[in-house]
């Protein structure tokens, strides 16, 4: 009897797995860490989902599960999506990495795409955006637009992704004004808008007249608007929170990638790849340049174009670390490995990196 049950359930699983491919349309599943209404990270992923529906119409059917905590629940949710017939699943947070790999092993016929991770398998691809490219551009704008020569940075957690952004911003600013100052305040949270607001107030109180952030809310922009400072948006266009305040915003645009990968699954050309897309792939976009003179906007546009064409890289040498040692010699470019594990500040950042 026991054997029979095992056999039957194995058979059932195979049926489910195969039906995911035999059936038309292709079911595409999404696992989100936040609510789709967060107007930041998850919102942008959901825009990608909607783009798939729009581009491929009746050939696909999409489903999503939002607010999935990173932990034991993840595996359960992904497994459920596969059992419900999803043939392609996007798992969109770093902490989903191990659960995605685990489920992928159990369901070799389903295809998985994991955002911001580094573990791949035959049926698991990874992808992420080079958002630091946008930060170089906003750093240049900040140096041009700041009167006090000091910018304030509301930072979440001292992980390489955030540190890379701070460094890139600083390098951009220094390319315009070598004496530019950057103050960093860590709030140790992604999700506490009140803390973000406090940090922005403190930074402005200390002389910063430009505020930028690496947390998920528009509150720093609102505070900047209230106090007469300028600011940049994060993850999505936040112009409505500061029509006279937002200079531009770095936009995570997953739409082209999501549509391309889904098409690849449909026509059978999908392969496990590792994509770290920048401005060249459209994954990193900039919101319209506003509240600045035309020459500053033109400069920003020119830098954007140079980065897009590969003529320029945010981490082109020479780059010095905070302690004065040479990190990248002139004529060299920092490689992706060093970028992904970045745990040091460039010279000029007015902060000690928390370890």
């Amino acid at each position: 009897m026991h054997k029979f049950i095992v056999l039957a359930s194995a058979l059932a699983l195979t049926l489910v797995a195969t039906s995911a491919f035999g059936a038309d349309p292709l079911k595409v599943g999404f696992v989100y860490v936040g609510p789709i209404s967060d107007h930041g990270w998850t919102y942008q992923h959901d825009q990608g989902r909607l783009a798939i529906e729009k581009a491929l119409g009746k050939r696909v059917k999409t489903v999503y599960v939002e607010k999935v905590p990173e932990g034991p629940d993840t595996e359960r949710v992904i497994t459920r999506l596969v059992r419900e017939g999803a043939g392609l699943i996007f798992t969109t947070s770093f902490g989903y990495m191990d659960p995605t790999i685990k489920v992928a092993k159990r369901f070799p016929k389903a295809i998985f795409e994991h955002a911001t991770g580094y573990k791949r398998a035959k049926n698991v691809a990874t992808y992420s955006g080079r958002f630091y490219e946008g930060r170089y551009v906003i750093g240049q704008i900040a140096a041009k637009m700041s009167k006090s020569g000091v910018a304030g940075y509301v930072a979440s957690f001292p992980i390489p992704e955030v540190v890379r952004g701070i460094n890139s911003f600083m390098l951009g600013a220094q390319s315009i004004n070598p004496d530019f100052k950057l103050k960093v305040v860590w709030v140790n949270s992604w999700v506490d808008p009140g803390k973000d607001a406090d940090a922005a107030k403190v930074l402005i109180g200390q002389g910063a007249d430009i505020i930028t952030q690496h947390t998920d809310h528009a509150t720093p922009i609102q505070i900047a608007a209230e106090k007469g400072a300028l600011a940049f948006g994060q993850a999505s266009d936040m112009i409505k929170f500061g029509p006279k305040t937002q200079l531009t915003a770095i936009i995570d645009d997953w739409r082209p990638y999501y549509v391309r990968r889904t098409k690849a699954v449909l026509d059978g050309s999908w392969k496990s790849t590792d994509t770290w897309g920048g401005m060249d792939t459209g994954m990193v976009g900039m919101a319209p340049y506003t509240n600045m003179p035309a020459d500053v906007a033109a400069m920003a546009k020119a830098t954007e174009d140079k980065i897009r064409s590969g003529k320029m890289h945010a981490f082109d040498g020479p780059i010095y670390k905070q302690d004065g040692s040479l990190a990248v010699p002139k004529g060299k470019r920092l490689d992706d490995g060093a970028l992904l594990g970045m745990n040091w500040y460039v010279k000029g950042v007015d902060d000690k990196l928390p370890k």
Partner: protein
């Protein structure tokens, strides 16, 4: 505006929601009821406050809606724990979870919209004084309100018959019942008051602190308020000290980071909790005082004999 002014102003805005919620919970607990639903009532106050203000364009309507919602949530809690005699801990926790979930659902259409901010009120003459003017006399009404509320609650407990009755109900509900006081009615009132304050604290978040609706925006402030009440040994003035101390240490931590002081930010982030607990433990070191002020019946279900 100089740096000191900026810091003091920031401290006041960061502390006010904690003070509002804690004073309300203090009244609830003094009547012998432990309502762990502060976080849930607060977040519901935040969402309805934002929604009402956004829809009508009036921050005052938003404040009223926040207060009403907090009160309504609390009455639900009161019905379950006082009328149906449900377990207070479990009901309170459920209220928090319910509030967080429901607020997320209700807030869906309001996310990503710029809100209506409750403006500051300048007191003519006084608000022009150097330093103390902008800090003390150019705040929004809720800041003044929170201080007045704390003073009022302190007065009620120290000087009025109502205060005595609430304390009697919280200290020994059997005796209070035997004396002819309606324990359930007193508790209903205190729970509703606590809920209204928590709702107001939520409204402060979405109308003044960060005029937006963001899911989960209370981010644990309800729990901090709950802890403040206990560490302040159920004394209004100490709740105020605790709330402002917490806000001050938190903002000073951010300030130190901005100046570039080499202290790990994770430590600075935990400092408000440590300092507040240490300070409140130090000032409530008198064990007799603590014993006198602790509501003996807290958390116990009371069902009168028929």
């Amino acid at each position: 505006m100089n740096a000191l002014e900026a810091v003091l102003l920031t401290i006041i805005t960061a502390s006010t929601p904690l003070l509002l919620a804690a004073v309300g919970e203090l009244v609830t607990e003094r009547s012998g009821v432990l309502n762990l639903g502060v976080e849930g009532m607060m977040i519901m106050g935040a969402v309805t406050g934002f929604a009402a203000a956004y829809t009508t364009g009036s921050a005052a309507v938003g404040v009223a809606a926040a207060v009403a919602t907090g009160g309504a949530m609390a009455l639900l809690f009161a019905f379950l724990t006082q009328t149906l005699a449900a377990n207070q801990m479990a009901t309170g926790l459920a209220l928090t979870l319910f509030g967080i979930g429901l607020s997320g659902l209700m807030g869906q259409p309001f996310t990503g919209l710029p809100g209506v901010k409750l403006g500051a009120v300048h007191i003519p003459g006084l608000s022009d004084l150097p330093l103390i003017g902008p800090v003390l006399f150019a705040q929004d009404l809720l800041v003044y309100g929170s201080v007045a509320l704390t003073a009022f609650v302190a007065w009620v407990f120290a000087r009025t018959r109502l205060g005595l009755v609430i304390r009697a109900v919280g200290s020994n509900h059997h005796s209070a019942h035997a004396l002819g006081y309606d324990v359930a009615a007193v508790r209903y009132g205190c729970i509703a008051f606590g809920g209204a304050c928590a709702g107001l604290a939520g409204g402060y978040l979405s109308l003044v602190y960060t005029p937006q609706w963001i899911e989960n925006m209370s981010a644990g402030r309800g729990w901090i308020a709950l802890a403040l009440v206990v560490f302040a040994t159920w004394t209004p003035s100490r709740v105020a000290v605790g709330a402002y101390l917490f806000g001050a240490v938190w903002i000073m931590g951010l300030y130190a980071q901005g100046v570039g002081v080499a202290i790990p930010s994770q430590f600075l982030a935990s400092l408000p909790y440590l300092v507040t607990i240490a300070a409140l433990l130090a000032i409530s070191g008198n064990r007799i005082f603590t014993k006198v002020n602790t509501p003996a019946c807290i958390g116990q279900t009371f069902v009168p004999d028929r």
